[in-house]
Symmetry: C2
Subunit: 241 residues, 2 copies
DNA sequence: TTCCCTATGTTCGGTACCCCGCATATGGGT
DNA sequence: ACCCATATGCGGGGTACCGAACATAGGGAA
């Protein structure tokens, strides 16, 4: 019997917005080297400091970049879905990063071996342009995460996290426990329980054992801090083609 | 009578480590377009969302990237000195960023008009390599700032901030009020007063009205959180030539 | 159906930091 | 030498979040 993951059929590469934005000739050059892979929930696409062999272009699903401290505490740095790619250090030149990349919402990706990515990047064409602009959008997200962590309450951060996730999913339901959300936000699970409870009481979301449904997105947008809009606007500006 | 800023003579461009690391031919190509400018304390090298015409390669002094919120609260995202440059969005493709860049410690820089930077970047040579690796180091710093903001106490963050600043200065004295440090760390001034007081009582630092001297750097390194070492190690790895 | 793992709900005390207000003192400018 | 803008010191009260411990309940597996 197929698992839930393999029950969802892979999408074509053009479901990834970076691949979709490539000129036809560039796309055709990459296509033979793209390999479809599943992104099962919880899988570490790469580990902190680990060597990377591929970049991953998600077509569905969400990948979180998170940092785990010596003490075991963790915090999400940024999040990527079908609008981007995982593995920027391969073209930035570092080969590895200090953060982990973990599948937060299962899905699929096309992966490209590092040498083909580098070859195409060094042509200096549209792919290079797209990857660098995406990287800048990621930088904005990281910056805003730093600011948000400093100044905003858990409830606002939860709203931000929900909206960023929703933007990368086709439905308005997330497959996620409060415990895992707490790990992402770097707070206690009870803090998430309390914030989620308030949002549910207000009729904005509904949750049950590992599932969260956003019922009233405009309502959530009213409670979120400015950080969400800053990140969203900048991503739209940079990735609009 | 000369101001304190102009009393410090500008250094040669090779005091900037990125410029120093360029192959001779590349360096000679840029040299005619480099213009020496002073970096006076508090000057905004660029504003949030503002158009940028130059990149700045500091030879001395420190520039902070910081985000100012609607409420007026602020937080430092990252810091750059003679090891890097200010204005990554010019080659990343975005033209602007959501953060401001403010001179935190006065000094000098060589600036390069955007069009020359882009032309050289698009050659795909060593400059491109260096700038991208520097950008990845900056990303590490931003990530770690996010994590540190979430999990660490003000005293540890102050230690991190002191060490990051010291790494970019020739002396062990900073020209900085507790109020300004508080703006950088995104905490209240009193929080900095308390933390600095503890460090001074322990004999690690000495301060007086706008000046902080680090007396016992190993002692500060003992109190800092892991974030400093992570950022430092990654910067060394990425920028070692 | 039943069982049991695990997700969620709740409480308690503790603490780090916030907000506000004001006292003190330093040191550059005149 | 003096002044005064400004940097630093200090307090009291409030709150958001933490840490730990435990109760409840949902829902998948056998």
């Amino acid at each position: 019997m197929p698992t839930r993951t393999s029950a969802i059929p892979p999408s074509p590469p053009t479901q990834n917005r970076l691949l979709a934005a490539l000129p036809e000739a560039d796309y055709q050059r990459l296509l033979p080297h793209l390999e479809s892979v599943a992104l099962p929930l919880g899988w570490a696409v790469y580990e902190s400091g680990g060597r990377m062999d591929h970049v991953y272009f998600p077509t569905d699903g969400i990948v979180s970049l998170l940092y785990v401290m010596e003490s075991g505490e963790s915090a999400e740095i940024a999040v990527t879905g079908p609008e981007g790619l995982v593995g920027i250090s391969l073209f930035m030149g570092g080969e590895s990063t200090t953060s982990r990349a973990v599948v937060q919402s299962e899905g699929h990706a096309y992966r490209l071996p590092a040498r083909f990515l580098r070859a195409e990047f060094e042509r200096g064409g549209q792919l290079q342009h797209l990857l660098l602009r995406f990287t800048q959008a990621l930088i904005t997200q990281m910056s805003q995460t730093a600011v948000c962590n400093r100044h905003h309450a858990v409830e606002q951060q939860l709203c931000r996290w929900l909206l960023l996730s929703l933007d990368r999913l086709p439905a308005n339901e997330l497959h996620m426990t409060q415990e895992l959300i707490a790990n992402m936000l770097g707070v206690r699970r009870e803090g998430v329980t309390e914030a989620a409870g308030k949002l549910q009481d207000a009729g904005l979301i509904h949750y049950r054992r590992g599932h969260i449904t956003v019922l009233d997105r405009p309502g959530v947008e009213k409670r979120v801090c400015e950080c969400y809009a800053v990140v969203k606007r900048e991503a739209d500006r940079l990735l609009m083609h």
